[in-house]
Amino acid sequence: MPTQLLFGAEVFLNGLMAGVLYALVALGFVLIYKASGIFNYAQGVMALFAALTLVGIMDGQVPFSHLINAMLGTDVHHFGWHVNALISIILTMGVMIVLAYCVQQFVFRHLVGQEPIILFMATIGLAYFMEGFGDLMWGSDIKKLDVGLPQGGSFWIEENSQWLGFGNEEFYGFFLDQLDIVATGIAAILVIVLVLFSQYTKQGRAMRAVADDHQAALSVGISLNFIWVMVWSVAGFVALVAGIMWGAKSGVQFSLSLIALKALPVLMLGGFTSIPGAIVGGLIIGVGEKMFEFIVGPMVGGATENWFAYVLALLFLVFRPQGLFGEKIIERV
């Protein structure tokens, strides 16, 4: 097989893996938009906040230690213990549920019936608040996140795919990052769980009912408050998963909130209201941008990935504004 073809296949596979990571971020947006019509600008910051909280709990960091020390003249930073990763994830999820409750209780409950742009603006405010709150709570240093996920290229795949080169010394076997493989597995499980939850549980059906028609859902006794807290909690969980995957790559730091930028073209492509759309959109963007960079990048000086993702999304906006799987927009005059 020609080497370039093998390299292309390697880029394709890595694009799929990258797409899964993009989809993980996009999923959180979709969940909230689908259930409440809110485009949650704070989704990236939620991933950051969740990851910060996870590392803080794991490392036994004293929350608000800088503030406490400044006010009381103390010098406390750590409790002196380390918490198991699984327990930390559960505790972090608890924090995200509390956060969801607070967001609903103190922000969106007061904005029911407001224009979508008002709700969007509220999420911008929420993003800034959470970023500052996370900084105050856990500090702004870059933290290493180690929940036991494997990192680095898989030796097994590399060694067992070398034969494809038929002795070609330029081909060293396929490179696939173990973290990306794990992320793919986790994302698959997450999507299956989300689908099962929304199809087969009482709360899931209530969530879908609210997504379909708030008024009708309310009239049959579904508590909007409860559903929205639940949706924000589920989005918080998705943000935590995304935060773990991205944080394992770069360390947990405030740039993590910028991963939302990677989700936007995915949403435009897949549609804002479709969970499968987020996954398929993520995969198309991931593969598309990597293949474009591989084939066209060298001719134009590289760094085409962001450009390609947004241009592709723009094309979809022009020809199919609702995205691949979004609900068809019908407006009667």
């Binding site: 390697e10 500052g132 702004s140 240093d141 870059i142 933290k143 770069s250 740039s255 591989f294 990935e305």
Partner: protein, 427 residues
């Protein structure tokens, strides 16, 4: 009643204004936002040195130091706002701490007669003081950095790197593109093959670039990164098992923040520097006694001795020494920004001077002049020791290739002079 109100207002204004006899220094810091992890240690080092001078020496030349800090969030617009809002306080010199902000301040500060010190960043050709009268970038600039990296590679290859493959992984911005011209010129001289791999901002996703590196197997990778791009690049290099000792970052890609997320696997990664590392200097004992123990440390006081803390402290030390030089030249302790500019232009840092300050072998010796606002272009190489959790200086300071760089600086600064109708010259 009216008189009383006016008197009270004037009194309040006087109380609120900084004492004009103080020497005011500005600190355009970024303690918030995506780059806060890098901004905090620099700002802490900058502030702690001035606090030390106030507490130990009573300021500079008998004048207390008034440090005005303004949060930029590493945002160019905010940085310019900070400049505009603080220049009235009589700030003697600005450290923009961002190439973007520096570019914006070059014409403004020059018009206002206020000097700017962009230490290891900003516009490289500002080295030519005949064109950039108020801009200083000593002791080294980006082009020096690129040249020092190549010199190091020459050193470890017995002086011959012809035929070697070198890849530049760079932030796809004006900052990241700075070394390209220099590396291209040096490739003609030394015969290496240069490949360019831009990374889009912010740099969280670099799979394509590192797959390309894995395919092409360059002998060395040089990185011009910033923020999250650094941590991801180092992790990706680890993932493809690229030898860390063949991976060299510019000084903005060489702090503890950049290597720690990758853990022990980052061991051996190299970075350039223009100042020394660690805290084993007599001056740090004074910092402990007069600043930390006195409860006056900036921030949380937990950054002392880190790479970026040292850089902030070094910047403050150079500013203080320039102020002392200005006081000497003009025979007054209450210097103005214009006098400070003169002090910077006549600054001379020697090993003897740094030893006397409690910072032996901390930075290179250099002399500034009207023709040369950038120092002598000395840099060194540090290496990360993951087990010890510290950076180690592995080379002496070496001078960049002035034969190649001087014509580049001259050409770029002359082009700027032509565009802006500046007649190059010394006052």
């Amino acid at each position: 009643m009216k008189m009383k109100l006016i008197t009270a207002a004037v009194a309040a204004l006087v109380a609120a204004s900084p004492a004009m006899a103080d020497l005011t220094f500005s600190s355009l810091s970024y303690r918030t936002g995506p780059y806060a992890a890098n901004g905090i240690p620099f700002a802490d080092g900058y502030a702690d040195y001035f606090t030390l001078l106030n507490e130990r020496d009573g300021g500079i030349g008998g004048e207390k130091i008034n440090l005005v800090e303004c949060e930029t969030g590493y945002n160019t617009e905010k940085g310019v706002e900070c400049y505009e809002s603080t220049k009235g306080s009589g700030a003697l010199v600005y450290q923009p701490l961002s190439t973007g902000i520096t570019y914006q301040l070059i014409p403004k500060a020059t018009a206002d007669g206020i000097p700017v010190h962009s230490m290891g960043y900003g516009r490289t050709s500002a080295k030519n003081g005949k064109v950039f009268s108020n801009i200083f970038n000593y002791p080294a600039n980006y082009w020096d950095g690129a040249s020092v990296a190549i010199k190091h590679l020459l050193d470890i290859n017995g002086g011959d790197i012809s035929g070697k493959k070198i890849a530049l992984v760079y932030h796809n911005s004006a900052y990241g593109k700075e070394p390209i011209r220099t590396l291209e010129e040096l490739s003609k001289k030394h015969g290496y093959d240069l490949s360019l791999l831009p990374v889009d901002h912010p740099g969280q996703e670099q799979k394509s670039q590192w797959l390309q590196i894995r395919r092409e197997r360059p002998d060395y990778v040089i990185m011009w990164g910033w923020g999250v791009m650094n941590q991801v690049a180092i992790q990706e290099a680890v993932n493809i098992r690229f030898p860390m000792e063949n991976f060299i970052g510019i000084w903005w890609s060489g702090s503890e923040n950049d290597v720690k997320p990758a853990g022990e696997a980052a061991d051996g990664y190299k970075a350039l520097t223009f100042h020394n590392v660690g805290s084993d200097y007599p001056l740090y004992e004074d910092i402990q006694d007069y600043v930390v123990d006195a409860g006056l440390a900036a921030g949380a006081g937990d950054q002392i001795g880190t790479v970026l803390y040292n850089r902030g402290l070094y910047a403050a030390m150079l500013a203080a020494e320039a102020a002392k030089t200005a006081q000497k030249i003009h025979g007054t302790s209450a210097i103005t920004p214009a006098m400070m500019r003169d002090g910077m232009e006549n600054l001379e840092m020697t090993e003897g001077k740094m030893t006397a300050l409690g910072l032996p072998n901390f930075g290179p010796s250099f002399k500034v002049s009207c023709e040369n606002h950038g120092g002598d272009g000395f840099g060194a190489v540090t290496q990360w020791d993951a087990k010890a959790g510290e950076w180690k200086m592995i080379t002496d300071y070496m001078q960049s290739d002035q034969d190649v760089l001087a014509p580049l600086v001259a050409a770029d600064s002359e082009a700027y002079a032509k565009e802006n109708n500046i007649t190059p010259g010394c006052n």
